[in-house]
């Protein structure tokens, strides 16, 4: 198929960017979206132009690197996939596709479609861990039984890949699904109880300082999340926060 691409080009964080139009031809429907981008970039390199910079790495939907806002949706029109898992069969011959970076004040653009997500790092550093040393001299792994249901819910929360689609898609650029997932993972486990109050307070404080917006429960994040992280995690974070504040 032949496509028209409108892609955000921005040389670096200091200058303004704009949408630039490109054409690609002979795109196979079996290609992944990023392979289509590879074709475009190969074309640009051969013409001596600078290729479009975009984040990507594992290309199997788990590293959380890829981050494109495609035709007005984070990771494009398919559900439950990252950009690298999106396939061209979701599009039709002759389509015009808009490709933009995640947009949020807390995620400044580095170049073209690459954004700086270190705000997420700082939130995790504020409390996204259990303070246990790494000596291996902890108690036996089976010393504390954990209800299967809790372990499973904790796992569901822990599947977050930190891609930032929730922020990109939220009309308020809120990071609460991301933070809620991490808070929930630990809140559901006995190991996480010791520091629970401090953790949720510190992570939320850092989240607010990073300039993310507030959650208005539109649920867009849950729909666009490639890992299907549930809004229940935000509710749990709210509960944990109230508990910690009382």
């Amino acid at each position: 198929m032949n496509l028209t691409l409108k892609i955000w080009r921005q040389k670096n964080s200091q200058v303004e960017g704009q949408m630039v139009e490109y054409k690609v031809t002979d795109i196979s429907e079996h290609m992944s979206f990023l392979e289509m981008m590879d074709v475009l970039n190969e074309q640009l390199v051969n013409k001596g132009e600078e290729p479009v910079a975009f984040d990507h790495d594992c290309r199997e939907g788990i590293c959380g690197m890829c981050s494109m806002f495609i035709n007005g949706e984070a990771h494009g029109p398919d559900r439950g996939v990252t950009t690298c898992q999106l396939h061209m069969r979701m599009f039709n011959d002759g389509d015009t596709i808009y490709i933009e970076p995640w947009r949020a004040k807390a995620f400044p653009v580095i170049k073209d479609l690459v954004v700086d997500r270190t705000a997420f790092e700082r939130i995790q550093q504020a409390g996204g861990y259990i303070s246990v040393n790494t000596s291996g001299n902890t108690q036996d792994a089976n010393a504390i039984p954990i209800a299967k249901e809790d372990a499973d819910l904790s796992m569901d929360a822990a599947t977050c890949i930190g891609c930032g689609a929730c922020v990109a898609t939220c009309k308020n650029a809120s990071a609460m699904l991301f933070v809620g997932a991490k808070v929930s993972q630990y809140a559901l486990l006995p190991q996480g109880q010791v520091e629970a109050a401090e953790r949720v307070s510190n992570m939320i404080k850092q989240m607010d300082e990073e300039g993310f917006g507030n959650c208005t429960n539109t649920g867009a994040c849950e729909v666009e999340c490639p890992k299907g992280i549930s809004l229940e995690n935000i509710a749990r974070m709210n509960r944990e926060f109230m508990k910690a504040s009382i």
């Binding site: 910079a53 790092e121 996204g128 792994a141 993972q185 486990l189 190991q191």
Partner: protein
Amino acid sequence: MTKLNSKVPTGVPLKDKWTHYKDKIDLVNPANKRNIDVIVIGTGLAGGSASATLAELGYNVKAFAYQDSPRRAHSIAAQGGINAAKNYQGDGDSSYRLFYDTVKGGDYRSREANVYRLAEVSANIIDQCVAQGVPFARDYGGLLDNRSFGGVLVSRTFYAKGQTGQQLLLGAYSAMNRQIARGKIEMHNRHEMLDVVIVDGKARGIIARNLVTGEIERHSAHAVVIASGGYGNVYFLSTNAMGSNATAAWKAHKKGAYFANPCFTQIHPTCIPRSGDYQSKLTLMSESLRNDGRIWVPKKMEDVHAIREGRLKPTEIAEGDRDYYLERRYPAFGNLVPRDVASRAAKERCDAGYGVNKTGEAVYLDFQSAIERYGKEQANIHGIHNPTHAKIVELGTKIVEEKYGNLFQMYEKIVDDNPYKTPMMIYPATHYTMGGLWVDYNLMTSVEGLYAIGEANFSDHGANRLGASALMQGLADGYFVLPYTIGDYLSDDIRTGEISTQTKEFEEAEKEVRDRIDFFLNNDGAHSVDYYHKKLGKIMWDKVGMARNEKGLQEAMKEIKELREDFWKNVKVPGDGHEMNPELEKAGRVADFLELGELFARDAYERKESCGGHFREEYVTEDGEAKRDDVNFAYAAAWEYTGQPSEAVLHKEQLEFKDIELKTRSYK
């Protein structure tokens, strides 16, 4: 020829070596640790866990990742699980048994003492991870669940859905975050190490490029740890991440670290086949699928043609016209033969022309009989007498979905075909590299103060790695081995003080890096980096892939050399060096792969035997199986760089097996 000293503790029985070693080493007092810096390259399971632990101990750690966060290292993509000799199932597991399975699975090409230590500390990993909040799968009693993997007789694999690597990495990442917050780890995201700096024979720092600003930076430390993973991307197409590269390890090699067993590469049998030339990477489907899937190709060539032309569907081929070749060749293990055997068998059928997709490189993995078997079982359980075929399929599909739902969904998203109805198509792909930097018992390379851990080193898996052992090794090295062994070395450095970066060694290394970048950016070539990478990948796959022979390897060495020469004349890299430039990053990595690939082929050429992942067509038994040569090749091949891969000097570390009897692996 220098003699390699593995520094394995002597005079104590195998099972006491590690304890004995730990009792005897020199320690660094906590106040002195504050004055010692350690650089860690890579933040996957090995690098992440090492950074966290070294920082916890009190050292100043400088960690480097080319991604925007440590959490994105490719360890995250490991699906199946992690082995540990916990014996929670009471099925007779022990450190010795895990050790035995690992050495045997590696086709007797690994170092006994290292593997035993790995098995010994494996149980601690699970305790550690649970304490960190890793949500492992549990049974209804709330205790940890296990599953079994290929090549072993016990259930010792711990898992977190199909995302075990992700959860373990996030555990190590959280431990890192705690130390970053305390200021004990200085994290350098989006940085790539481009050279290691040697001062007075010791590794004392690195040159790194800031991938956002393009700045070339000098970083010094008392020791450097390479934890940058494997070199599977030398094949261009692999299950590795796009950015996975050998640059850090290769630079270390060029500065004096021996590179061991490069030809030991694991080709994983169950990956989604290539669909066209545009393909950028291959996706793995977990080995667990082979528990229920049956692998076959058509018996008749006309059926193959009809399928490729779309005139026939696989489901329309009668049972008698299908060749379940693994069950035919290996009746004892059937579809559950180890990875290397399954991969070669698929290649054999496809080479004979029976591949079932347009590229001719695919075989079927069929769940129909599993669905029917489970369906009948469920019908009995639910008391349905004389169920219809449709009912059986419905019930059976539900069970298969419960077991493999996420994998089936992943397949359907990529291939756009329903694997519950038509058989999956699979084909082997490069997955893991057992070879890597040669290290001694301390995990130190042949350069003093330069360590290699995780997939980046060569040590523990011999010629073939068992499923769920990579995660185990990465974390064992990082959490529990390196922190001890590096202390022994650093205890001599307590009076050294900070290492200056204003020395001629740093200056020279930096100049070399800058010159190379300038060359790339100013070379007015004709071809993109990917053009060369794809060509290299094709040579590697065709001639140094699943089956190798003398003629092909000679050709490969020659062709890679020619390709490398052409690359240095005609490569084209757009953009400039003072900003983010992904093409420039790729150019440096591919330049290194072009050297590594040749050494790889040479190592394969010199190893005139078949063992594990290394299969030489000349060295086979009468019935076509791999034929190992323990008399002449029971050694680790450690290569010393002398200027050209073709002139690398081979050092042999003879492998001794005192606690294990060398046997032929048979799966018939």
